[in-house]
């Protein structure tokens, strides 16, 4: 087993599946010679050639739209949007086709394609390189939105996504790309799409997060556990849509308290959906309101101010403490 960071783990998944399956190809801006601006596709061009590693023009809609065509013809394109901030240029294709072709044809056609994109803040980048807008995709029926939180689950989920007969929007928390390493088995490993992961069981409070926010969440939980001897159940959502209601409901039915940590703006964010699911499924067990610790409903500030806008360990710890004390 090698210790890999998330970019390397993604690269491994791509390389392995391209080796396994001739119909897999990667495409996007700078994915070839350059190996991707984050190096996620490094080495693939040398190994698999220009036909399977397509450096495309600047055309997000064209990349996804032609990816739809390729998928219809039986290929399995893995399209890269260089940053999620540019992905809105392909929203027309996503809404009209990626999410719908199966339903439109009552299952006769399907789209085995993946759209990968880095998202989220914390890397001191220019405007449009820091947003978390998973809801814009997750709200659309037919969409499947997956967000890994570490190298190992990134590799396993990406492999599952590529093999799936349906499209997957794979959002990669860029702040976690090189933040830490994990053992990632060389041998193939997949994780089911649509299932949350209970990172740690507990009885006093359910802490839910995903993507880069898992790190402050885990740290805050450890701090509060140490400080107060509380037993915290931690859920890594992994799939945003369709959401794993069972795991959430079962956990909150047990703990009666819930804190959700989300990088996205608060209003209409995933934590609102989680709150609504808990309201539906575990209302009578609730001993405190669900606490949403989130980004603010302000236009994402430039990096001069960015850091104070991201939920951090102190904020999460405080939120957990308040919810325990409610």
């Amino acid at each position: 087993m090698a210790k890999l960071n998330m970019v390397q783990a993604i690269n491994l998944a791509l390389a392995q599946e391209m080796a396994n399956d001739d119909s897999v190809l990667v495409m996007g801006q700078d994915v070839g010679v350059d190996g991707g601006v984050f190096r996620a596709t490094d080495g693939l061009l040398e190994r698999f050639g220009q036909k399977r590693v397509l450096d495309t023009p600047l055309a997000e809609s064209g990349i996804v739209g032609s990816g739809v065509g390729m998928a219809l013809a039986g290929l399995k394109p893995v399209c890269e949007m260089q940053f999620s901030g540019f992905s809105y240029m392909m929203m027309g294709q996503f809404e009209a086709h990626v999410t719908r072709l199966r339903a439109r044809t009552l299952g006769q056609l399907n789209l085995p394609m993946v759209i990968r994109m880095p998202y989220g803040g914390g890397v001191r980048a220019l405007e449009h390189h820091s947003e978390s807008r998973e809801v814009m995709y997750a709200h659309q029926p037919g969409a499947r939105v997956v967000i890994p939180s570490g190298p190992r689950n990134a590799r396993a989920l990406l492999l599952a996504a590529i093999r799936d007969p349906d499209p997957v929007l794979f959002m990669e928390p860029k702040h976690s790309y090189r933040a830490f390493r994990e053992e990632v088995p060389e041998q193939e490993e997949t994780l089911p799409i649509g299932k949350a992961h209970v990172v740690q069981e507990g009885t006093d409070l359910t802490l839910i997060s995903w993507g880069a926010m898992m790190r402050p969440a885990l740290k805050a939980a450890a701090r509060i556990e140490k400080q107060r001897g509380a037993s915290i159940e931690i859920i890594d959502l992994l799939t945003i849509a369709p959401m794993d209601h069972e795991t959430i409901a079962a956990s909150v039915a047990k703990t009666g308290r819930c804190v959700v940590v989300q990088e996205a703006p608060r209003s209409f964010g995933p934590s609102s959906e989680i709150t609504a699911v808990i309201n539906d499924r575990a209302f009578l067990y609730l001993e405190a309101p669900v606490k949403r610790l989130t980004g603010y409903d302000v236009v994402t500030p430039y990096f001069g101010r960015e850091k104070s806008y991201l939920p951090g360990v102190d904020k999460v710890a405080q939120g957990i403490a308040e919810t325990l004390d409610f």
Binding site: L25, K51, T56, P57, A59, S61, G62, V64, G65, S66, G67, V68, G69, M70, A71, L72, A73, G74, L75, P77, G92, Q93, A96, H97, L101, R102, A103, R104, T105, L106, G107, Q108, L109, N110, P141, G142, R144, D164, P165, D166, G194, P242, M243, H245, E246
Partner: protein
Amino acid sequence: MPRKQIAKFSVPHVQILAPDGTADAKLDPGLPADTLLAMYRWMRLARALDERMLKLQRQGRLGTFPPNAGQEAISIPAAMLMRDGDWFVGAFRELGGRLVRGEPLTAVLDYYNGWEEGNVLPDKELRILPTSVVIGCQIEHAAGLAYAAQYKESGEVALAFIGDGGTSEGGFHEGLNLAGVWRAPLVTIIQNNQWAISIPRSQQTASETLAQKGIAYGMPVVQIDGNDPLAVWVAVGEAIERARRGEGPTLIEAVTYRLMMHTTADDPKKYRTEDEEKRAWELEPLLRTRKYLENKEIWDQDREQALLDEVKARVDAAVAEFETPKERPLDAPFDHVYGTAHPNIEAQRREFLAGLEGGGARG
């Protein structure tokens, strides 16, 4: 400012069959009689279905649809030139071409009566993409399909259609640029029917022709008379052959006219004169094709009547089948959100079905 010229382009125009039914002898491809007759038969069938659909719609027996009358000479010859394995990527005004490629008449009727069943083909290997209501997207799909053909070295080509209005969309640009860069086997036909709902061609773009838009993507371009099935045959045939030989994409502008309303929800009187329409009817393709066949002495009034009877019978049969009540479970959409069942969707299905029983969901 004096300057040196570094690149030159021109847009050719082709018309072979004149409105009076006479063909330019030098250009006439000399198609065998059976091909010509098959072509005319498809045109008549498409026209008959189109006319019937309008009646059905007016009687409340069909939903909104976009009539095709006047544009039969474009998608029909183009579709006839295609082979098994080629991709037919329509916009929404290629009724004839769809029929040629094997789409059942009942599928067309189902589709325009609000049933996804109309998108389900007898065999998905017919490779007719469902209507792309969102204009422009289909060109990007077609670029990808063409790339896939290249990838598989299958010799297949993709044939895509778009309207004059559609050329203004970003998707047209991005799709054709990709096809150009890839030298992908894509033939794109602009059905320039002069109108995008109420917007005339002159307000859609300032370019002298629509064909010249292909210059932006480094591909061969040609403008043809789209009411002339022989010009379509020759131009599309050349383009398909070029694509099959690996010589890349082509953009074809077929100049035609939308003889009817945009859709049955539209009233063209708001924005164009009846005089303009009348003049356009004089140029329409069925008329001139019939004259051409008559000049060739392979057609006459009797055969015409027999054909009209035949297509009427086919349309009658299709409508009857279409109107036969069918078992179409209301909860089918729950089956096709994803390829694998998901508990959230199944829970909602139960809720939906319970609502139906209680009458609740129907309000």
